[in-house]
């Protein structure tokens, strides 16, 4: 018998992931129990200051607004994504439509955000149109509020939801819908009682893949948000680079990590066969071979 080469093949990835992922997570975990240094950094010693700061009212408000933004953008995305994916799966031009969904998704993230500034900004497309048509005499401030953040979050993560939904709906046997209708169900009943239970895995994955990045989002509220749309991601960044309270930045990150992991585990338990699809879609996400 030959020697098991498994450890040999896996050791580079094990070393890399330990060094640049697990150890950094371990460091922020320990930092989250320390006191903040005078000029950034931390002072060794155990304390829970960074965690008790999380119950402070400003932080709770920010958590609430983060939740609000993430929930509403996820909701908008799912409402748009299910019918779109259904249409694509039933169409004769599947691969062309898939391609159409993937192109904007491949376009640079910041360019997509910028496009919305070009449209909604004070000197943007919409304001120029409204003013030159005489509807408004001054420009209107469309940006820098939570609606702009929700809109652009939905825009950014919409393909994340369409792709997994498409891949599950495509496997659905549509003759079941006809059967249900032959047996007297209305079209809506057939969709609700036959289609939806069968595509639960896809819906779960779609929610997971839009809600998690939306909840942990940083760039969109940073660029397009205002004082009403400060999100947890912005607070982490601020504590890290501006206020230089590293224990607080760490404790927020630790809580966010734990919540995300629990969320994923919960969703996977909820839908046993979703775990495979989460893994598959995580990789197919960017659609190299979609």
């Amino acid at each position: 018998m030959r020697k098991n080469p498994g450890p040999f093949y896996s050791s580079p990835v094990a070393i890399w992931i330990s060094s640049f992922f697990l150890i950094p997570l371990g460091i922020i975990f320990t930092y989250s129990f320390m006191r903040k240094g005078l000029y950034g950094g931390v002072v060794p010693g155990f304390c829970l200051d960074a965690y008790s700061a999380l119950s402070n009212i400003t932080f709770l408000k920010i958590t609430a607004s983060t939740l609000y933004i993430a929930l509403f953008s996820t909701l908008a995305i799912i409402v748009l994504a299910i019918p779109s994916a259904y249409f694509m799966a039933r169409s004769r031009h599947k691969s062309f439509f898939l391609f159409l969904v993937i192109i904007p998704f491949w376009t640079n993230f910041l360019i997509r955000i910028y496009a919305w500034i070009a449209i909604l900004g004070n000197n943007g497309f919409l304001n120029s149109m409204l003013i030159s048509s005489g509807l408004f005499s001054h420009h209107v401030q469309f940006l820098y509020n939570k609606y702009a953040v929700i809109l652009v979050t939905a825009y950014t993560y919409l393909p994340f939801a369409i792709l997994p939904l498409y891949s599950t709906i495509e496997k659905f046997d549509f003759s079941l819908l006809e059967a249900a209708q032959d047996l007297g169900a209305t079209k809506w009943q057939a969709l609700r009682k036959v289609l939806f239970p069968n595509i639960r895995g896809g819906i779960t994955t779609a929610i997971l893949f839009t809600f998690i990045p939306a909840f942990g989002s940083y760039a969109i509220p940073q660029i397009l948000g205002g004082s009403d749309s400060l999100m947890i991601g912005n607070v982490i960044a601020r504590e890290l680079t501006v206020t230089r309270n590293w224990p607080l930045a760490s404790s927020i990150s630790v809580v966010l990590t734990i919540l995300t992991t629990l969320g994923v585990v919960f969703f996977m338990k909820l839908n046993q066969n979703a775990s495979g699809s989460v893994r598959r879609i995580a990789t197919a996400e960017k659609g190299v071979n979609a």
Partner: protein
């Protein structure tokens, strides 16, 4: 007979308009002569400005390309070996390794950015004790990008290995091949389509990343997304419109060509 569907085509059309309208507006206004979004005539002046008068932008672009190619190469090598090890063999702590490589895919990017920034600061502290300087630089960006690319390469290559029978490897051994021969003459050729798409995905992810890079880049190691970010902070600029159009065009070209490359590999 069922009625013709109305709602789903309508929503799909709406979604397509929603997805493409911003991009189309960027394309149109990149040819606008005026500095504002009011149309004042067709012109190539912003493209001219982009190519003749934007040195720092192209330096950032150069940085992006270096980091993308470097991190995609390294993560493809490490990821491929890891995929072979994890998919075909059993060993201690395999389950933990699988979870540890899956987690970076689902965690919000900011967590990875923040933890790496704090980690690099700690490493710099430790190294400065022995007189070595380890500042944030293009090298730390490269390390960070390799880290977030790895799980993707790993999973893509594993998906490719799933399609193959392990008995091929056993046959190679039975016929007397050494480990190294099996790797280079049997396993890697089998896995190559997966490795190529993993590599391409890593290049795309790396070129695209803003959040993680934002935290781990030092002075002088700006990448293209960081440069675009600093331009955006000054408001709408027609030069960004022109740049966006180039990026969109390259994206579409790449999407087409990778699709074709993929078909070509499969048909071989």
């Amino acid at each position: 007979m069922t009625k013709k569907a109305i709602i789903s085509p309508f929503v799909f059309t709406l979604v397509m308009m929603f997805l493409y309208m911003p991009l189309i507006i960027l394309v149109i206004y990149s040819f606008n002569d005026s500095k504002t979004m009011a149309w004042s005539g067709f012109s190539f002046r912003w493209y001219q400005e982009l190519f003749t008068n934007s040195g720092s932008l192209w330096r950032s672009f150069g940085n992006s390309v270096i980091v993308a190619l470097g991190s995609a190469t390294l993560s493809s090598v490490i990821g491929t070996l890891g995929a072979i090890g994890i998919y075909w063999y059993n060993f201690k702590f395999k389950k933990i390794l699988q979870i540890a490589t899956f987690l970076p895919l689902i965690l919000p990017e900011i967590i990875i950015g923040v933890s790496l920034l704090i980690f690099f600061a700690k490493v710099n502290d430790l190294l400065s004790l022995v007189g070595i300087h380890f500042p944030l630089s293009l090298f730390t960006v490269f390390l960070a990008h390799t880290t977030f690319n790895l799980p993707f390469v790993l999973l893509i290559v594993m998906a490719r290995l799933e399609e193959f029978d392990f008995t091929i490897i056993e046959a190679a051994y039975d016929l007397g091949a050494r480990e190294i021969d099996t790797l280079f003459k049997v396993v890697l050729p089998i896995a190559s389509p997966g490795i190529i798409s993993g590599f391409l995905m890593a290049v795309t992810l790396s070129l695209e990343d803003f959040v993680i890079t934002f935290f781990v880049a030092g002075p002088g190691s700006s990448t293209l997304p960081l440069h675009v970010y600093s331009m955006i902070r000054f408001g709408v600029s027609p030069v960004i419109n022109a740049l966006s159009v180039l990026i969109i065009a390259v994206t579409i070209l790449l999407a087409f060509s990778t699709k074709n490359i993929y078909k070509y590999i499969i048909s071989k």
